[in-house]
Protein backbone atom coordinates (compact mmCIF):
# COMPACT_ATOMS: atom_id res chain seq x y z
CA UNK A 1 0.00 0.00 0.00
CA UNK A 2 1.41 3.28 -1.06
CA UNK A 3 -1.07 5.44 0.79
CA UNK A 4 0.16 6.88 4.08
CA UNK A 5 -2.79 9.04 5.11
CA UNK A 6 -6.46 8.99 4.26
CA UNK A 7 -8.97 11.55 5.42
CA UNK A 8 -12.69 10.84 4.97
CA UNK A 9 -15.34 13.51 5.32
CA UNK A 10 -13.42 15.13 8.15
CA UNK A 11 -15.23 17.80 10.07
CA UNK A 12 -14.11 20.08 12.85
CA UNK A 13 -16.63 22.43 14.37
CA UNK A 14 -16.10 24.88 17.22
CA UNK A 15 -18.67 26.23 19.64
CA UNK A 16 -18.33 30.00 19.50
CA UNK A 17 -20.49 32.81 20.91
CA UNK A 18 -22.38 33.21 17.62
CA UNK A 19 -23.15 29.50 17.21
CA UNK A 20 -21.35 26.61 15.56
CA UNK A 21 -18.25 27.49 13.56
CA UNK A 22 -17.73 24.99 10.74
CA UNK A 23 -13.99 25.40 10.40
CA UNK A 24 -13.41 22.16 8.51
CA UNK A 25 -16.57 20.87 6.91
CA UNK A 26 -16.23 17.56 5.13
CA UNK A 27 -12.74 17.15 3.68
CA UNK A 28 -11.65 13.90 1.99
CA UNK A 29 -8.31 13.02 0.38
CA UNK A 30 -5.50 10.48 0.36
CA UNK A 31 -1.79 11.07 0.40
CA UNK A 32 0.87 8.75 -1.01
CA UNK A 33 4.15 8.04 0.71
CA UNK A 34 6.87 10.51 -0.23
CA UNK A 35 4.39 12.99 -1.69
CA UNK A 36 4.11 16.70 -0.93
CA UNK A 37 0.44 17.49 -0.59
CA UNK A 38 -0.24 21.20 -0.79
CA UNK A 39 -3.22 22.78 0.94
CA UNK A 40 -3.89 26.32 -0.21
CA UNK A 41 -6.49 28.92 0.69
CA UNK A 42 -6.95 32.32 2.24
CA UNK A 43 -7.45 33.17 5.88
CA UNK A 44 -10.48 31.52 7.42
CA UNK A 45 -10.60 28.67 4.91
CA UNK A 46 -9.78 26.11 7.59
CA UNK A 47 -6.42 24.87 6.32
CA UNK A 48 -4.62 25.42 9.62
CA UNK A 49 -7.46 23.81 11.53
CA UNK A 50 -7.29 20.86 9.14
CA UNK A 51 -3.60 20.35 9.87
CA UNK A 52 -4.11 20.66 13.61
CA UNK A 53 -7.03 18.25 13.57
CA UNK A 54 -5.09 15.56 11.70
CA UNK A 55 -2.32 15.72 14.30
CA UNK A 56 -4.86 15.82 17.13
CA UNK A 57 -4.12 19.23 18.55
CA UNK A 58 -7.89 19.45 18.03
CA UNK A 59 -10.19 16.47 18.39
CA UNK A 60 -12.12 15.77 15.17
CA UNK A 61 -15.86 16.42 15.32
CA UNK A 62 -16.69 13.67 12.83
CA UNK A 63 -15.28 11.79 9.88
CA UNK A 64 -12.33 9.43 9.68
CA UNK A 65 -8.55 9.71 9.62
CA UNK A 66 -6.41 6.70 8.67
CA UNK A 67 -2.66 6.86 9.14
CA UNK A 68 -0.52 3.94 7.93
CA UNK A 69 -3.70 1.91 7.69
CA UNK A 70 -4.66 2.58 11.30
CA UNK A 71 -7.83 4.42 12.29
CA UNK A 72 -6.57 7.32 14.36
CA UNK A 73 -9.72 9.39 14.42
CA UNK A 74 -10.58 9.12 18.08
CA UNK A 75 -7.57 8.03 20.08
CA UNK A 76 -6.58 8.15 23.71
CA UNK A 77 -3.77 10.17 25.18
CA UNK A 78 -1.32 7.29 25.10
CA UNK A 79 -2.15 6.37 21.51
CA UNK A 80 -1.75 10.01 20.62
CA UNK A 81 1.71 10.10 22.13
CA UNK A 82 2.55 7.07 20.08
CA UNK A 83 1.21 8.73 16.95
CA UNK A 84 3.43 11.73 17.49
CA UNK A 85 6.48 9.56 16.99
CA UNK A 86 5.38 8.99 13.42
CA UNK A 87 3.70 12.27 12.60
CA UNK A 88 5.04 15.72 13.37
CA UNK A 89 4.26 19.40 12.93
CA UNK A 90 6.19 22.51 11.90
CA UNK A 91 4.67 25.76 13.10
CA UNK A 92 4.30 29.00 11.20
CA UNK A 93 5.72 31.52 13.60
CA UNK A 94 9.36 30.91 14.44
CA UNK A 95 9.10 33.69 16.98
CA UNK A 96 6.46 32.17 19.21
CA UNK A 97 6.79 28.42 18.69
CA UNK A 98 10.06 28.09 20.61
CA UNK A 99 10.44 28.26 24.40
CA UNK A 100 12.26 31.56 24.97
CA UNK A 101 13.98 30.17 28.09
CA UNK A 102 15.57 27.12 26.49
CA UNK A 103 18.73 26.99 24.47
CA UNK A 104 18.73 25.70 20.92
CA UNK A 105 20.23 22.34 21.84
CA UNK A 106 17.79 21.93 24.72
CA UNK A 107 14.82 22.58 22.45
CA UNK A 108 15.96 19.93 20.01
CA UNK A 109 16.81 17.48 22.79
CA UNK A 110 13.35 17.75 24.34
CA UNK A 111 11.49 15.22 22.16
CA UNK A 112 14.39 12.80 22.61
CA UNK A 113 14.53 13.13 26.39
CA UNK A 114 10.77 12.83 26.63
CA UNK A 115 11.03 9.64 24.61
CA UNK A 116 13.38 8.22 27.23
CA UNK A 117 16.74 8.73 25.55
CA UNK A 118 19.74 9.17 27.83
CA UNK A 119 20.99 12.72 28.08
CA UNK A 120 24.33 11.98 26.43
CA UNK A 121 22.75 10.19 23.48
CA UNK A 122 20.11 12.86 23.15
CA UNK A 123 22.74 15.55 23.02
CA UNK A 124 24.61 13.71 20.30
CA UNK A 125 21.52 13.19 18.21
CA UNK A 126 20.43 16.80 18.69
CA UNK A 127 23.84 17.91 17.51
CA UNK A 128 23.48 15.74 14.41
CA UNK A 129 20.06 17.16 13.76
CA UNK A 130 21.43 20.68 13.95
CA UNK A 131 23.97 19.77 11.32
CA UNK A 132 21.27 18.21 9.19
CA UNK A 133 19.25 21.41 9.14
CA UNK A 134 22.23 23.65 8.57
CA UNK A 135 22.58 25.17 12.03
CA UNK A 136 26.15 25.81 13.08
CA UNK A 137 27.40 24.12 16.29
CA UNK A 138 28.14 27.60 17.59
CA UNK A 139 24.44 28.17 18.16
CA UNK A 140 23.97 25.22 20.50
CA UNK A 141 23.92 27.40 23.57
CA UNK A 142 22.15 30.37 22.01
CA UNK A 143 18.64 31.38 22.91
CA UNK A 144 15.95 31.72 20.21
CA UNK A 145 15.66 35.48 20.49
CA UNK A 146 19.33 35.81 19.60
CA UNK A 147 18.76 34.29 16.17
CA UNK A 148 16.95 35.47 13.06
CA UNK A 149 13.71 34.01 11.72
CA UNK A 150 15.35 31.66 9.27
CA UNK A 151 17.57 30.05 11.90
CA UNK A 152 14.69 29.77 14.34
CA UNK A 153 12.65 27.96 11.75
CA UNK A 154 15.53 25.53 11.27
CA UNK A 155 15.31 24.80 15.00
CA UNK A 156 11.62 24.03 14.57
CA UNK A 157 12.42 21.69 11.70
CA UNK A 158 15.16 19.91 13.66
CA UNK A 159 12.76 19.47 16.55
CA UNK A 160 10.15 17.96 14.26
CA UNK A 161 12.67 15.50 12.80
CA UNK A 162 13.95 14.28 16.16
CA UNK A 163 11.93 11.08 16.44
CA UNK A 164 12.17 10.25 12.75
CA UNK A 165 8.56 10.82 11.75
CA UNK A 166 7.17 9.57 8.44
CA UNK A 167 4.76 12.45 7.84
CA UNK A 168 5.27 16.11 8.64
CA UNK A 169 2.50 18.68 8.57
CA UNK A 170 4.01 22.06 7.71
CA UNK A 171 1.75 24.94 8.67
CA UNK A 172 2.86 27.97 6.65
CA UNK A 173 6.51 27.23 7.48
CA UNK A 174 7.94 30.05 5.38
CA UNK A 175 5.19 32.69 5.51
CA UNK A 176 6.83 34.65 8.30
CA UNK A 177 10.22 34.73 6.56
CA UNK A 178 11.78 37.10 4.10
CA UNK A 179 11.99 36.01 0.48
CA UNK A 180 15.70 35.24 0.50
CA UNK A 181 15.40 33.17 3.67
CA UNK A 182 12.21 31.53 2.42
CA UNK A 183 14.16 30.07 -0.46
CA UNK A 184 16.79 28.64 1.91
CA UNK A 185 14.17 26.93 4.05
CA UNK A 186 12.23 25.57 1.09
CA UNK A 187 15.42 24.07 -0.30
CA UNK A 188 16.15 22.54 3.08
CA UNK A 189 12.70 20.97 3.26
CA UNK A 190 13.13 19.49 -0.21
CA UNK A 191 16.56 18.08 0.64
CA UNK A 192 15.33 16.54 3.86
CA UNK A 193 12.39 15.00 2.08
CA UNK A 194 14.67 13.27 -0.38
CA UNK A 195 17.18 12.17 2.23
CA UNK A 196 14.71 10.95 4.84
CA UNK A 197 11.90 9.81 2.56
CA UNK A 198 9.40 12.14 4.20
CA UNK A 199 5.83 12.87 3.27
CA UNK A 200 4.67 16.47 3.65
CA UNK A 201 1.35 18.18 4.03
CA UNK A 202 2.25 21.73 3.07
CA UNK A 203 -0.25 24.34 4.20
CA UNK A 204 0.13 27.85 2.81
CA UNK A 205 -1.67 30.85 1.38
CA UNK A 206 1.21 31.60 -0.99
CA UNK A 207 0.44 30.24 -4.45
CA UNK A 208 3.97 30.54 -5.83
CA UNK A 209 5.34 28.57 -2.91
CA UNK A 210 2.73 25.83 -3.17
CA UNK A 211 3.30 25.61 -6.90
CA UNK A 212 6.99 25.16 -6.38
CA UNK A 213 6.96 22.55 -3.66
CA UNK A 214 3.81 20.44 -4.07
CA UNK A 215 3.04 17.38 -6.14
CA UNK A 216 -0.68 17.87 -5.74
CA UNK A 217 -2.66 20.85 -4.50
CA UNK A 218 -5.99 21.08 -2.70
CA UNK A 219 -7.79 24.42 -2.69
CA UNK A 220 -9.96 25.18 0.32
CA UNK A 221 -12.66 27.79 0.78
CA UNK A 222 -14.56 28.34 4.04
CA UNK A 223 -14.03 24.81 5.29
CA UNK A 224 -14.74 23.02 2.02
CA UNK A 225 -12.57 21.46 -0.67
CA UNK A 226 -13.26 23.26 -3.93
CA UNK A 227 -10.60 21.73 -6.15
CA UNK A 228 -7.85 19.12 -6.06
CA UNK A 229 -5.39 18.26 -8.82
CA UNK A 230 -1.78 17.66 -9.65
CA UNK A 231 0.10 20.93 -9.31
CA UNK A 232 0.92 21.47 -12.98
CA UNK A 233 -2.65 20.65 -13.95
CA UNK A 234 -4.19 22.97 -11.36
CA UNK A 235 -2.13 25.95 -12.41
CA UNK A 236 -2.50 25.29 -16.10
CA UNK A 237 -6.16 24.46 -16.06
CA UNK A 238 -8.00 25.74 -12.97
CA UNK A 239 -11.67 24.85 -13.11
CA UNK A 240 -13.34 26.23 -10.00
CA UNK A 241 -14.28 29.94 -10.20
CA UNK A 242 -12.60 30.56 -6.87
CA UNK A 243 -9.36 28.91 -7.96
CA UNK A 244 -9.38 31.00 -11.12
CA UNK A 245 -9.89 34.20 -9.17
CA UNK A 246 -7.21 33.20 -6.69
CA UNK A 247 -4.65 32.50 -9.36
CA UNK A 248 -5.38 35.68 -11.24
CA UNK A 249 -5.09 37.76 -8.10
CA UNK A 250 -1.44 36.97 -7.41
CA UNK A 251 0.58 40.02 -8.52
CA UNK A 252 2.85 38.87 -11.32
CA UNK A 253 6.40 40.10 -11.75
CA UNK A 254 5.94 40.14 -15.48
CA UNK A 255 6.01 43.84 -16.29
CA UNK A 256 5.20 43.38 -19.95
CA UNK A 257 1.73 42.01 -19.45
CA UNK A 258 -0.83 44.27 -17.91
CA UNK A 259 -2.30 41.89 -15.40
CA UNK A 260 -5.94 40.90 -15.99
CA UNK A 261 -7.08 40.51 -12.46
CA UNK A 262 -10.35 38.81 -11.74
CA UNK A 263 -11.75 40.85 -8.91
CA UNK A 264 -14.17 39.16 -6.57
CA UNK A 265 -17.12 41.17 -5.39
CA UNK A 266 -19.76 40.38 -2.85
CA UNK A 267 -19.70 39.46 0.80
CA UNK A 268 -17.70 36.57 2.19
CA UNK A 269 -20.14 34.07 3.70
CA UNK A 270 -19.89 33.32 7.39
CA UNK A 271 -18.53 29.97 8.55
CA UNK A 272 -20.77 30.16 11.62
CA UNK A 273 -24.01 28.19 11.20
CA UNK A 274 -23.56 28.15 7.43
CA UNK A 275 -26.60 27.99 5.16
CA UNK A 276 -26.95 25.14 2.68
CA UNK A 277 -25.65 25.79 -0.79
CA UNK A 278 -22.25 26.63 -2.20
CA UNK A 279 -20.28 28.83 0.22
CA UNK A 280 -18.80 30.73 -2.71
CA UNK A 281 -22.15 31.57 -4.31
CA UNK A 282 -22.34 35.19 -3.18
CA UNK A 283 -19.05 36.07 -4.88
CA UNK A 284 -19.24 33.84 -7.94
CA UNK A 285 -19.59 35.22 -11.47
CA UNK A 286 -21.27 32.04 -12.71
CA UNK A 287 -23.78 31.59 -9.91
CA UNK A 288 -27.07 29.90 -10.76
CA UNK A 289 -30.13 29.01 -8.69
CA UNK A 290 -28.96 25.57 -7.67
CA UNK A 291 -25.78 27.07 -6.19
CA UNK A 292 -27.81 28.82 -3.55
CA UNK A 293 -29.63 25.76 -2.32
CA UNK A 294 -27.50 22.66 -2.87
CA UNK A 295 -24.01 21.91 -1.58
CA UNK A 296 -21.87 21.10 -4.61
CA UNK A 297 -20.37 17.59 -4.55
CA UNK A 298 -16.74 16.86 -5.34
CA UNK A 299 -16.51 15.26 -8.79
CA UNK A 300 -13.60 13.81 -10.73
CA UNK A 301 -13.73 15.83 -13.90
CA UNK A 302 -10.49 14.48 -15.36
CA UNK A 303 -8.09 11.84 -14.10
CA UNK A 304 -6.95 13.04 -10.71
CA UNK A 305 -8.64 16.44 -11.10
CA UNK A 306 -11.52 17.01 -8.69
CA UNK A 307 -13.86 20.03 -8.50
CA UNK A 308 -16.82 20.86 -6.30
CA UNK A 309 -19.01 23.06 -8.49
CA UNK A 310 -22.46 22.78 -10.03
CA UNK A 311 -21.47 24.48 -13.23
CA UNK A 312 -18.50 22.59 -14.61
Amino acid sequence: MNVILTVENLKKHFEVPGGNLHAVDGISFSIKKGETFGVVGESGCGKSTLGRTIIHIHQPTSGRIYFENEDITFISGRQCRDLLRRMQFIFQDPYSSLNPRMTVIDIIMEPLLIDGMKKKDARQRASNLMEMVGLSKAFETSYPHELDGGRRQRIGIARALALEPKLIICDEPVSALDVSIQAQILNLLLELQEELKLTYIFITHDLSVVKHISDRVMVMYLGNMVELAETKELFRNPLHPYTKALLSAVPSINIDEKQKREILHGEIASPINPMPGCRFAARCKHVTEICKTDDPKLMEVKAGHFVACHNI
Binding site: L84, S96, S97, N99, P111, I114, T141, R159
Partner: protein, 288 residues
Protein backbone atom coordinates in the same frame (compact mmCIF):
# COMPACT_ATOMS: atom_id res chain seq x y z
CA UNK B 1 20.82 38.85 12.03
CA UNK B 2 22.97 36.98 14.46
CA UNK B 3 23.89 38.58 17.72
CA UNK B 4 26.97 36.96 19.21
CA UNK B 5 27.16 35.14 22.51
CA UNK B 6 28.34 38.33 24.14
CA UNK B 7 24.69 39.30 24.09
CA UNK B 8 23.78 36.97 26.92
CA UNK B 9 26.38 38.32 29.28
CA UNK B 10 25.28 41.80 28.50
CA UNK B 11 21.65 40.94 29.20
CA UNK B 12 22.56 40.54 32.82
CA UNK B 13 24.70 43.64 32.71
CA UNK B 14 21.83 45.53 31.14
CA UNK B 15 19.58 44.29 33.91
CA UNK B 16 22.01 45.55 36.54
CA UNK B 17 22.32 48.82 34.64
CA UNK B 18 18.58 49.34 34.52
CA UNK B 19 18.22 48.48 38.17
CA UNK B 20 21.02 50.79 39.30
CA UNK B 21 19.41 53.73 37.57
CA UNK B 22 16.57 53.55 40.06
CA UNK B 23 18.02 55.29 43.10
CA UNK B 24 15.22 54.30 45.44
CA UNK B 25 15.58 50.67 44.47
CA UNK B 26 19.30 50.78 45.15
CA UNK B 27 18.64 52.38 48.53
CA UNK B 28 16.14 49.64 49.21
CA UNK B 29 18.68 46.98 48.34
CA UNK B 30 21.34 48.54 50.58
CA UNK B 31 18.95 48.71 53.50
CA UNK B 32 17.83 45.13 52.96
CA UNK B 33 21.44 44.00 53.01
CA UNK B 34 21.97 45.89 56.28
CA UNK B 35 18.92 44.25 57.83
CA UNK B 36 20.03 40.80 56.68
CA UNK B 37 23.50 41.35 58.09
CA UNK B 38 21.99 42.57 61.34
CA UNK B 39 19.84 39.47 61.54
CA UNK B 40 22.71 37.11 60.77
CA UNK B 41 25.24 38.76 63.04
CA UNK B 42 22.87 39.64 65.88
CA UNK B 43 24.73 37.81 68.64
CA UNK B 44 27.95 39.56 67.63
CA UNK B 45 26.72 43.09 67.19
CA UNK B 46 24.00 43.40 69.78
CA UNK B 47 25.53 44.90 72.94
CA UNK B 48 23.07 43.02 75.15
CA UNK B 49 20.89 39.90 74.92
CA UNK B 50 17.29 40.48 73.87
CA UNK B 51 16.01 39.27 77.17
CA UNK B 52 18.65 40.72 79.50
CA UNK B 53 16.53 42.43 82.08
CA UNK B 54 17.89 45.04 84.47
CA UNK B 55 14.98 46.42 86.38
CA UNK B 56 17.14 49.01 88.02
CA UNK B 57 17.65 50.53 84.61
CA UNK B 58 14.11 50.36 83.39
CA UNK B 59 12.79 53.10 81.18
CA UNK B 60 15.99 55.02 80.66
CA UNK B 61 16.02 57.41 77.72
CA UNK B 62 18.56 56.87 74.92
CA UNK B 63 22.10 57.46 76.13
CA UNK B 64 25.66 56.33 75.41
CA UNK B 65 25.17 52.94 77.06
CA UNK B 66 21.77 52.22 75.64
CA UNK B 67 21.58 53.88 72.24
CA UNK B 68 17.86 53.45 71.94
CA UNK B 69 17.14 53.45 75.66
CA UNK B 70 15.61 50.63 77.73
CA UNK B 71 12.09 49.35 78.01
CA UNK B 72 9.87 48.75 81.02
CA UNK B 73 11.81 45.64 81.98
CA UNK B 74 15.21 47.27 81.59
CA UNK B 75 15.99 45.49 78.31
CA UNK B 76 18.15 47.30 75.76
CA UNK B 77 15.89 48.48 72.98
CA UNK B 78 18.69 48.60 70.40
CA UNK B 79 19.61 44.96 71.00
CA UNK B 80 15.98 43.93 70.86
CA UNK B 81 15.61 45.75 67.57
CA UNK B 82 18.55 43.86 66.09
CA UNK B 83 17.22 40.52 67.24
CA UNK B 84 13.87 41.70 66.00
CA UNK B 85 15.33 41.81 62.52
CA UNK B 86 15.85 38.07 62.78
CA UNK B 87 12.29 37.51 63.79
CA UNK B 88 10.78 39.70 61.10
CA UNK B 89 12.95 38.40 58.30
CA UNK B 90 12.45 34.77 59.18
CA UNK B 91 8.70 35.27 59.46
CA UNK B 92 8.59 37.25 56.22
CA UNK B 93 10.62 34.74 54.27
CA UNK B 94 9.06 31.59 55.65
CA UNK B 95 5.47 32.73 55.28
CA UNK B 96 6.12 34.02 51.78
CA UNK B 97 7.83 30.80 50.76
CA UNK B 98 4.86 28.76 51.92
CA UNK B 99 2.26 31.06 50.41
CA UNK B 100 4.05 31.54 47.09
CA UNK B 101 4.53 27.85 46.48
CA UNK B 102 0.99 27.02 47.51
CA UNK B 103 -0.32 29.78 45.26
CA UNK B 104 1.97 28.57 42.49
CA UNK B 105 0.43 25.11 42.53
CA UNK B 106 -3.11 26.45 42.68
CA UNK B 107 -2.52 29.09 40.02
CA UNK B 108 -0.64 26.69 37.77
CA UNK B 109 -3.35 24.04 37.80
CA UNK B 110 -6.10 26.58 37.41
CA UNK B 111 -4.43 28.54 34.63
CA UNK B 112 -3.10 25.58 32.66
CA UNK B 113 -6.18 23.38 32.62
CA UNK B 114 -8.78 26.13 32.48
CA UNK B 115 -12.38 25.04 32.01
CA UNK B 116 -14.26 23.43 34.88
CA UNK B 117 -11.18 22.94 37.04
CA UNK B 118 -10.36 26.63 36.77
CA UNK B 119 -13.95 27.61 37.48
CA UNK B 120 -14.20 25.60 40.67
CA UNK B 121 -10.83 26.67 42.01
CA UNK B 122 -11.36 30.32 41.24
CA UNK B 123 -14.81 30.42 42.79
CA UNK B 124 -13.30 29.11 46.02
CA UNK B 125 -10.52 31.66 45.79
CA UNK B 126 -13.07 34.39 45.17
CA UNK B 127 -14.85 33.50 48.38
CA UNK B 128 -11.65 34.01 50.31
CA UNK B 129 -10.83 37.17 48.41
CA UNK B 130 -14.12 38.64 49.51
CA UNK B 131 -12.71 38.74 53.02
CA UNK B 132 -10.09 41.44 53.60
CA UNK B 133 -6.78 39.64 54.10
CA UNK B 134 -6.17 41.39 57.39
CA UNK B 135 -9.41 40.09 58.83
CA UNK B 136 -8.71 36.69 57.35
CA UNK B 137 -5.31 36.54 59.01
CA UNK B 138 -6.75 37.70 62.31
CA UNK B 139 -9.56 35.16 62.16
CA UNK B 140 -7.17 32.30 61.40
CA UNK B 141 -4.69 33.36 64.07
CA UNK B 142 -7.39 33.80 66.67
CA UNK B 143 -8.88 30.39 65.86
CA UNK B 144 -5.53 28.71 66.16
CA UNK B 145 -4.95 30.33 69.51
CA UNK B 146 -2.28 32.95 68.91
CA UNK B 147 1.47 32.49 69.19
CA UNK B 148 4.13 32.33 66.51
CA UNK B 149 3.06 29.15 64.78
CA UNK B 150 -0.54 30.20 64.34
CA UNK B 151 0.70 33.59 63.16
CA UNK B 152 2.86 31.91 60.53
CA UNK B 153 -0.07 29.86 59.28
CA UNK B 154 -2.40 32.83 59.34
CA UNK B 155 -0.08 35.05 57.33
CA UNK B 156 0.75 32.34 54.80
CA UNK B 157 -2.87 31.42 54.16
CA UNK B 158 -3.97 35.03 54.03
CA UNK B 159 -1.73 35.72 51.07
CA UNK B 160 -2.60 32.64 49.04
CA UNK B 161 -5.88 33.71 47.35
CA UNK B 162 -4.56 36.96 45.91
CA UNK B 163 -1.31 35.50 44.68
CA UNK B 164 -3.09 32.49 43.19
CA UNK B 165 -5.15 34.84 41.05
CA UNK B 166 -2.04 36.60 39.89
CA UNK B 167 -0.18 33.43 39.03
CA UNK B 168 -3.22 31.97 37.31
CA UNK B 169 -3.41 35.01 35.04
CA UNK B 170 0.24 34.69 34.09
CA UNK B 171 -0.03 30.95 33.53
CA UNK B 172 -3.12 31.37 31.42
CA UNK B 173 -1.43 33.93 29.21
CA UNK B 174 1.57 31.67 28.66
CA UNK B 175 -0.54 28.56 28.09
CA UNK B 176 -2.11 30.06 25.02
CA UNK B 177 1.20 30.76 23.37
CA UNK B 178 2.35 28.65 20.48
CA UNK B 179 5.44 27.22 22.12
CA UNK B 180 3.18 25.43 24.58
CA UNK B 181 1.20 23.94 21.71
CA UNK B 182 4.52 22.94 20.17
CA UNK B 183 5.58 21.33 23.44
CA UNK B 184 2.47 19.17 23.44
CA UNK B 185 3.33 18.02 19.95
CA UNK B 186 6.75 16.93 21.21
CA UNK B 187 4.83 14.67 23.62
CA UNK B 188 5.67 16.61 26.75
CA UNK B 189 3.55 15.70 29.76
CA UNK B 190 1.46 18.36 31.47
CA UNK B 191 3.74 18.38 34.49
CA UNK B 192 6.81 18.86 32.31
CA UNK B 193 5.13 21.72 30.49
CA UNK B 194 4.12 23.41 33.70
CA UNK B 195 7.56 23.33 35.25
CA UNK B 196 9.98 23.36 32.36
CA UNK B 197 8.07 25.61 30.00
CA UNK B 198 5.61 27.82 31.84
CA UNK B 199 7.33 28.41 35.17
CA UNK B 200 10.62 29.75 33.76
CA UNK B 201 8.63 32.18 31.66
CA UNK B 202 6.71 33.60 34.61
CA UNK B 203 9.76 33.61 36.85
CA UNK B 204 10.24 37.37 36.82
CA UNK B 205 6.69 37.95 38.01
CA UNK B 206 7.18 35.24 40.59
CA UNK B 207 10.36 36.83 41.94
CA UNK B 208 8.86 40.30 42.17
CA UNK B 209 5.72 38.99 43.85
CA UNK B 210 7.87 37.02 46.27
CA UNK B 211 9.81 40.12 47.21
CA UNK B 212 6.67 42.16 47.80
CA UNK B 213 5.29 39.20 49.71
CA UNK B 214 8.13 39.35 52.21
CA UNK B 215 7.31 42.99 52.89
CA UNK B 216 3.67 42.12 53.30
CA UNK B 217 4.55 39.25 55.62
CA UNK B 218 6.64 41.47 57.86
CA UNK B 219 3.86 44.02 58.00
CA UNK B 220 1.24 41.40 58.81
CA UNK B 221 3.46 39.89 61.48
CA UNK B 222 3.81 43.29 63.11
CA UNK B 223 0.10 43.81 62.93
CA UNK B 224 -0.80 40.46 64.44
CA UNK B 225 1.81 40.78 67.18
CA UNK B 226 0.63 44.29 67.89
CA UNK B 227 -2.84 43.04 68.68
CA UNK B 228 -1.44 40.19 70.70
CA UNK B 229 -2.13 37.32 68.34
CA UNK B 230 1.42 36.80 67.18
CA UNK B 231 4.76 36.75 68.85
CA UNK B 232 4.46 36.45 72.58
CA UNK B 233 6.84 37.90 75.17
CA UNK B 234 9.79 37.88 75.41
CA UNK B 235 10.26 37.51 71.62
CA UNK B 236 11.50 40.91 70.37
CA UNK B 237 9.18 41.24 67.41
CA UNK B 238 8.89 44.88 66.31
CA UNK B 239 5.10 44.93 66.32
CA UNK B 240 5.05 43.40 69.79
CA UNK B 241 7.54 46.04 70.90
CA UNK B 242 5.22 48.71 69.51
CA UNK B 243 2.36 47.23 71.44
CA UNK B 244 4.38 46.95 74.62
CA UNK B 245 5.50 50.55 74.39
CA UNK B 246 2.05 51.97 73.83
CA UNK B 247 1.22 52.67 77.44
CA UNK B 248 4.44 54.67 77.86
CA UNK B 249 4.08 56.69 74.73
CA UNK B 250 3.63 60.03 76.47
CA UNK B 251 6.78 60.07 78.52
CA UNK B 252 8.92 57.51 76.71
CA UNK B 253 8.01 57.87 73.03
CA UNK B 254 11.28 56.24 71.90
CA UNK B 255 9.82 52.86 72.91
CA UNK B 256 7.36 53.30 70.06
CA UNK B 257 9.12 55.44 67.51
CA UNK B 258 12.14 53.21 66.97
CA UNK B 259 10.26 49.96 66.32
CA UNK B 260 7.72 51.92 64.27
CA UNK B 261 10.35 53.50 62.08
CA UNK B 262 12.06 50.12 61.67
CA UNK B 263 8.90 48.50 60.40
CA UNK B 264 8.24 51.37 58.01
CA UNK B 265 11.72 51.60 56.56
CA UNK B 266 12.04 47.84 56.19
CA UNK B 267 8.75 47.45 54.37
CA UNK B 268 9.42 50.53 52.26
CA UNK B 269 12.89 49.30 51.30
CA UNK B 270 11.65 45.88 50.25
CA UNK B 271 8.87 47.45 48.21
CA UNK B 272 11.23 49.84 46.48
CA UNK B 273 13.60 46.97 45.77
CA UNK B 274 10.74 44.91 44.35
CA UNK B 275 9.62 47.81 42.16
CA UNK B 276 13.16 48.18 40.90
CA UNK B 277 13.34 44.48 40.10
CA UNK B 278 10.11 44.65 38.15
CA UNK B 279 11.23 47.62 36.10
CA UNK B 280 14.63 46.07 35.45
CA UNK B 281 13.06 42.79 34.31
CA UNK B 282 10.74 44.40 31.88
CA UNK B 283 11.50 48.00 30.99
CA UNK B 284 8.67 48.05 28.46
CA UNK B 285 6.14 48.06 31.27
CA UNK B 286 7.49 51.32 32.58
CA UNK B 287 5.61 53.21 29.93
CA UNK B 288 8.54 55.01 28.43
Amino acid sequence: MNKSNNKRKSHFRLFVQRFSRNKLAVFGLIFIVIIILAALLAPYIAPYGYDDQDVSRRLTKPNSEHWFGTDDLGRDVFSRMIYGARVSLSIGISTTTISMFTALIIGMISGYYGGKVDNIIMRIVDIFLAIPSILLSIAIAATLGGGIVSMLIAISLGAVPGVSRLIRAQVMAESHKEYIEAAKVTRASDLRIMFKYIFPNILSVFIVTFTMGVAGGILNASMLSFIGLGAQAPIPEWGAMLSGGRQYIRDYPYLVTYPGIMISITVFSINMFGDGLRDAFDPKLKGR
